[in-house]
Amino acid sequence: MSRSGKRTWGKTTVGVLLTGIMLFPVYWMLNVSLTRDQDMRKSPPDLFPVHATLSGYRTVLEEQLPYLGTSLVIGLGTVALTVVLSAPAGYALAKLRPRGGGVLGFVLLAAQMIPGIIMAMGFYAIYLQLGMLQSVPGLIVADSTLAVPFAVLIFTAFMSGIPGELLQAAKTDGAGPWRTFRSIVLPMSRNAVVTVSLFAFLWSWSDFIFASTLVNGGAHEPITLGIYHYIGNNNQEWNAIMATAVVASLPATVILVLAQRYVAAGVTAGAVKD
């Protein structure tokens, strides 16, 4: 027993080392975000933030708050739109056996494969004609296309697991499909709602391609464009850029800490049956 215990600690050491290597860029982002202006071009760079300063973060507070607010609104809007559209669809595909449901499932799978640049160009052409460029609702709709097919697949997979007897019992008690959906299926699918919401939020928060084509130069731009403009202006204040990047990573970090099991569930459900 003690021998195997020692071996596990050896593996743990290797594991920590590998994780350290993998996460080095994340550490470096933090380190640079805390670097003073005069040390930015130092060679070699300091490996640790010995003269840590928060001036980069002060710049974020002064210049990036509106971008962060816009991203938050867009993220929440995308979540709402995605859940409202895909939860009923998941229920129908999982439990009501619609004719043509297989085709719809296949269309959803194919929809996930379409490159973002194609969607962006199509949306650009449509929004230009409708005068909807540089509008937040327009970007919410575009961002939701990143999540809806995935969300329907997740809901379908999850709701398939709800016992049929339960739904049958509700039917016997006189509940219609809508009532059954609202008071039984939806409450039981809380985990799926959480998973879908997390991913929808994260994807719209991280979206760059729709933002840069559909709302570039508008009054309300998301944080990804905030960072992009920072880099694009040939800005030398990399501490401010990296501080913005750290702040933009916060949702991902929070989600990983609070809801890791939902994340892993989402990754695998998208790829592997069961």
Binding site: L23, L104, L108, I241
Partner: protein, 326 residues
């Protein structure tokens, strides 16, 4: 929310719903007499079907339309661009960028896939040994995948900076000359490949790890009793039994990697001198990257990408269905 977005969708529905494979949705009631459950099912599916038609099929259609006409900014607004058939595709094929972009797309996709898969598999096998902290460390590995791409791309840009980047500082410390990672045509593609592998490893790790979970531990015990070492056990048990999951992982990775845009655009804009241009960045460059946009050729390049993605998507769907049946 649901109301404001749903109401305007209703109107164009009748002319489109047939196109999206939704034809069985509303058959004439007299002929087929759908059960009430059928009606309910499609009532639940109507929003998402309309959504697919309006926000997938229609943009795709507009994109094909773009690629078949000679669009300018003016005719874009007025909608009177002349129909030019396959002229845009011919322009694209004859463009001196075509061959390099094709080569870069293939190299980028292939190299990323191989390394992401190999590293992901090695890590999955390693983490499958369940040592102390293994679950926590495995969770931390997800971080690169969850970060917004602009965050990863800008971090890598600064790390690979020729003068002040940490990578060149480390190389200098071990006596290697500095490399112009992002500004030299011979290194830019390698740089974006490195960054993209870093982003793709977590996905491979998680999916392959979940695949490993389903291999019965008894097999390993039996093999160990027969005297098979770890290397032998990997090649005669793990690898063959993981083949279905591997196929899915690689195919999905292929489709995702083909359309990678953000990383390359943010790090190098496809340059210098188009040395890291792929179809995705070239399409964007044509449509949005210049003062005078070339929407037609841009859409044409994009459509070539769609065809490639859908071909591999079909393969993926077939493989998945086959696995579901078996």
């Amino acid at each position: 929310m649901s109301h404001t977005t749903r109401v305007p969708h209703r109107r164009p529905a009748p002319d489109h719903s047939g196109a999206a494979g939704a034809a069985p949705a509303a058959p004439p009631p007299a002929r087929r007499r759908p059960s009430s459950q059928q009606w309910a099912a499609w009532a639940f599916l109507t929003p998402v079907t309309l959504y697919l038609v309006l926000f997938y099929a229609y943009p795709l259609y507009r994109n094909i339309d773009l690629s078949l006409r000679n669009y300018t900014v003016r005719s874009f607004v007025q909608g009177d661009a002349p129909f030019t058939g396959l002229q845009n595709y011919r322009t694209v094929f004859d463009d001196p960028t075509f061959a390099p972009a094709l080569l870069h797309t293939v190299v980028f996709t292939a190299v990323c896939l191989v390394f992401q898969y190999a590293i992901g598999l090695a890590l999955a096998v390693f983490f499958n040994q369940h040592f102390r902290l293994s679950a926590t460390l495995r969770a931390l590995f997800l971080v690169p995948w969850l970060l917004p791409l602009i965050v990863s791309a800008s971090t890598w840009s600064w790390m690979l900076n020729s003068d002040s980047g940490i990578v060149n500082a480390v190389l200098h410390a071990v006596g290697v000359d500095p490399v112009n990672w992002l500004t030299s045509p011979s290194w830019s593609l390698i740089s974006v490949i490195i960054a993209n592998i870093w982003i793709g490893v977590p996905f491979n790790l998680v999916v392959l790890y979940s695949g490993l979970q389903s291999i019965p531990a008894g097999l390993y015990e039996a093999a160990a009793l027969d005297g098979a070492g770890p290397w032998r056990r990997f090649w005669s048990i793990t690898f063959p039994l993981l083949r279905p999951v591997s196929a899915i992982t690689l195919l999905l990775g292929l489709v995702y990697t083909l359309k990678v845009f953000d990383i390359i655009w943010i790090m190098t804009k496809g340059g210098p001198a188009e040395s890291s241009t792929t179809f995705a960045t070239w399409s964007y460059q044509l449509g949005f990257g210049n003062l005078l946009p070339a929407f037609g050729p841009g859409a044409a390049v994009g459509n070539l990408l769609v065809v490639a993605a859908l071909v591999f998507g079909l393969v993926y769907a077939r493989v998945q269905r086959k696995q579901a049946l078996s």
